[in-house]
């Protein structure tokens, strides 16, 4: 029996990145919403809803980076230089917000307001930079002779700015619905309002990004059956479930918010992200460095992929199990009185 190792690894890394986007998405979202909070007590609670899990969430990003390096070294060596500055900005943002979890509690008169600001700034910066990378990815990367050959600012276009704006709003939606789930009373009410605003903005951005993708990127447009004047249904229908899931997700957010539900809006936001993610994947699969290098060309030697698969098969279920356990330990509402501590 021979396994299609590159395909398996493409699937594993795609899953890892998806988990990253969902998990770090909501805790970045909490940071993005920080400037809109009423007072220090609310901010304490907001931070405490993610403090025990953010580190684990961010580890999926390390897996995404490390996994891409290990399984598709060629793609990694093309993608990283192509998005040099956005990657640096993302990392700078992640550093500032990451240390803010501890530093904000340690800071005193001047320190605390500073790290409160850095938590918000860092989260927004990281989200925006990820959006630029994503947008640049859909745009495609110029490759000559297996090396990045484009310019320093190829990732800076109206299209990538649109995607980046959308991702910031999307993360804010995940964050707001997470807070609806994890908080009570006045803060829950605020989160509900944030969910409405960020939900509407996310929907608008999704429409904007989808339409401009069809217009600007003929390769992706063709995948979706877009002929310039209408859709080729034979191509579009097999993919139709993707926007449908997004619509259901948005509907679930709206319905949940209206009914003052605590958990459903978060589920809805997750569905929106699943739809967006699947939509992107449909656009550029099988490329890992669009639109020149596919996952087979970029794959590491089979012995490397095989060695990693053995470990992954054993360890990944364990990771998922104890990650789930940690979320279970910290289940329930977070309130100022009870707190975590």
């Amino acid at each position: 029996m021979s396994l299609d190792l590159p395909l398996i690894w493409a699937g594993l890394i795609a899953t890892g990145v998806l988990l990253y986007v969902l998990l770090d998405g909501f805790d970045l979202g909490v940071g993005i919403l920080f400037p809109f909070s009423r007072n220090k007590e609310d901010r304490d609670v907001m931070m405490n809803t993610v403090a025990p899990v953010w580190d684990g969430n961010e580890t999926w990003l390390v897996l995404g980076g490390g996994g891409l390096l290990a399984a598709f070294p060629l793609a990694y060596s093309i993608v990283m230089p192509a998005f040099y500055l956005p990657v640096i900005l993302m990392l700078a943002g992640l550093i500032l917000r990451g240390v803010a979890f501890e530093f904000r509690f340690r800071g005193q008169r001047r320190g605390r307001p500073f790290w409160t600001a850095m938590f918000a700034v860092g989260s927004i910066l990281a989200a925006f930079a990820q959006g630029l990378i994503l947008g640049g990815f859909i745009q495609g990367i110029e490759v000559v002779d297996d090396r990045f050959a484009g310019g320093t600012f190829d990732w800076f276009t109206p299209y990538t700015l649109l995607v980046a704006g959308g991702l910031v709003c999307g993360y804010a939606l995940l964050g707001a619905t997470w807070l609806m789930w994890k908080t009570a009373d006045e803060l829950h009410g605020d989160a509900r309002r944030w969910a409405v605003i960020s939900g509407v903005l996310t929907a608008l951005f999704l429409v904007g990004v989808s339409l401009s993708t069809l217009v600007v990127h003929p390769v992706v447009a063709e995948r979706w059956g877009w002929t310039g004047g209408g859709f080729d249904m034979g191509r579009f229908l097999p993919l139709a479930w993707i926007p449908l899931v997004g619509l259901i997700g948005l509907g679930l957010v709206g319905w949940g918010v209206r009914r003052a539900s605590h958990g459903w809006p978060f589920i809805g936001a997750v569905l929106v992200f699943l739809s967006g993610y699947a939509g992107l994947a449909a656009g550029f699969f099988p490329y890992v460095a669009p639109y020149t290098v596919d996952f087979r060309a970029a794959a590491a030697p089979d012995n490397a992929l095989g060695l990693m698969l053995v470990g992954t098969v054993v360890i990944l279920p364990l990771i998922l199990a104890y990650t789930g356990w940690v979320y279970w330990v910290f289940r329930g509402k977070v309130t100022p009185e009870a707190g975590y501590h």
């Binding site: 580190d55 390096l69 070294p73 230089p81 320093t152 490397a304 060695l307 990693m308 470990g311 330990v329």
Partner: protein, 467 residues
């Protein structure tokens, strides 16, 4: 091309800066995690309050340091791609799995159970909490295993072949992982990490004892730290020596640079002081012990000197030679500290000698300096290679402009300066307060740093708990 050379130089500066910043935290948290596991275990077993007080104190320091280690580590996993894309394109098939295993077996374990360790006391009960502490400690050491394996493979590559197109693939992952320099270098690094922690704990405790001799917790912590230093410092000398012997066989240019040997010959002296000069291929102001080279090799063994390599294949000798002497000098001081402290402990007078306590305070940061000096020796000593004998550093760089790298370097320096200064202030503030402060007075309302959680939590678990 001048442009590419600048990007190379800036990328090297950036990597040196970010990796040196990062290594400070693992060097400290590997040992501290294990220390916390020991403290919590001892507390669970003996229910002696001093252990709990110490745990609650050092876990706060741990939380700050670990956070800084995590975020500065993420940078490294991306920097291979942003700045050293050719290195990964060519050697990713060998290095990649080692790094991936680090993420899978260590990072998730640390990150997930850290949450329980810092925030979970009330939620999971003491035994599970102890387990979480232990898993974090195990995770930090597993992480060291993989990263040292990957780095050692770059020093002494094994189990690989170079394909026609230049890509490097593994022929045996067992040989690649357990490459010749890996065992001694892993041991050297782990012991260095434990020594670093012991020096910090010892220094901070000595500082408290200088202010108030009667503090039980600080006395206990100082004794534990000194005991560890007394045992580990001599072992570290032997392990370091073993590591040097491996370099003699596999990286002769590194050993020659360490000892500033320009000539290939037998019966070398031991050079104590010199200004090595690559331009003249000789040492200025040399102060040497004739025949002292027996520390490196038997007198009749011929040791390769730098003259065996063309100048462009020689590492920067001055930096390697002096970094090594800084590391060894500090190691000798650690030996003295351990021996002196052990003697005082035996005489039951460890808190009485103010001279000794001041010495211990001064030695507090010695581990960090020694670790950085040691890494300079090993990384600069490998130059001009990124993978010894296989790939040159100059050929490993990404196709990015000098302007981009200058920008990123500026961003890193700015962000790290802010983070480092703030982190140092918060840690030093804690160390100045000392463990007794945290145990005596409850935190003001609204303060919810991790330690507070535990300070308040065990009330219902230990009858008569004063907190």
């Amino acid at each position: 091309m001048a442009l590419e050379y600048d990007a190379l130089l800036l990328s090297r500066l950036q990597f040196a800066f970010t990796v040196a910043f990062h290594i400070l935290f693992p060097a400290f948290t590997i040992g501290l995690a294990a220390y916390l596991a020991v403290l919590e275990g001892l507390w669970l077993r003996t229910r002696r309050e001093a252990y709990k007080t110490l745990y609650l104190f050092w876990v706060k320091v741990f939380a700050i340091s670990f956070g800084m280690g995590v975020v500065s580590g993420i940078v490294l996993s991306y920097q291979f791609g942003t700045n050293w894309a050719e290195f990964i394109r060519l050697s990713g098939g060998v290095i990649g799995p080692l790094l991936a295993y680090e993420v899978l077996t260590a990072f998730f374990l640390e990150a997930s159970f850290l949450g329980v360790m810092l925030f979970g006391w009330k939620k999971v009960g003491p035994k599970l909490h102890f387990l979480a502490t232990c898993l974090v400690a195990v995770g930090t050491s597993i992480s060291a295993f993989w990263i040292l394996s990957a780095n050692s493979w770059m020093q002494t590559p094994a189990g690989y072949e170079v394909l026609a197109d230049g890509r490097i693939v593994a022929t045996s992952f067992m040989e690649a992982i357990f490459n010749p320099s890996f065992p001694s270098r892993l041991a050297h690094m782990l012991i260095a990490a434990f020594l670093t922690t012991a020096l910090v704990v010892g220094g901070a405790s000595a500082f408290q004892l200088l202010r108030n001799r009667g503090q039980e917790e600080s006395r206990l912590a100082l004794k534990m730290a000194i005991g560890l230093i007394a045992v580990l410092a001599p072992i570290q000398v032997l392990v370091g020596h073993e590591s040097g012997l491996v370099a003699k066989d596999h990286q002769p240019q590194k050993l020659a640079a360490i000892e500033a040997y320009w000539e290939t010959r037998a019966n070398h002296p031991l050079i104590l002081f010199a200004i090595p000069d690559r331009a003249t291929q000789s040492n200025h102001f040399e102060l040497a012990v004739p025949g002292g080279g027996v520390l490196v090799a038997p007198a009749d063994e011929v040791v390769t000197g730098l003259d065996a390599f063309p100048p462009e294949d020689q590492p920067p000798v001055f930096l390697v030679f002096w970094s090594f002497r800084v590391m060894v000098g500090l190691g000798v001081l650690m030996l003295v500290l351990g021996a002196w402290g052990a003697w005082l402990t035996w005489r039951k007078r460890i808190a009485d000698s103010r001279l000794f306590l001041r010495f211990a305070v001064l030695m507090g940061p010695a581990g960090f300096v020694a670790v950085i000096a040691g890494w300079i020796v090993t990384e600069v000593g490998r130059q001009p290679w990124v993978i010894q004998g296989v790939l040159r550093t100059a050929d490993a760089i990404s196709p990015v402009t000098a302007g981009s790298v200058a920008t990123s370097l500026l961003i890193y320096v700015t962000v790290y300066a802010i983070v480092f200064v703030a982190g140092a202030i918060y840690i030093l503030r804690l160390l100045r307060e000392g463990p007794a402060a945290g145990a005596a007075e409850p935190k003001p309302e609204g303060q919810r740093a991790p330690g507070w959680a535990l300070a308040a939590a065990p009330e219902n678990k230990t009858p008569g708990d004063p907190s």
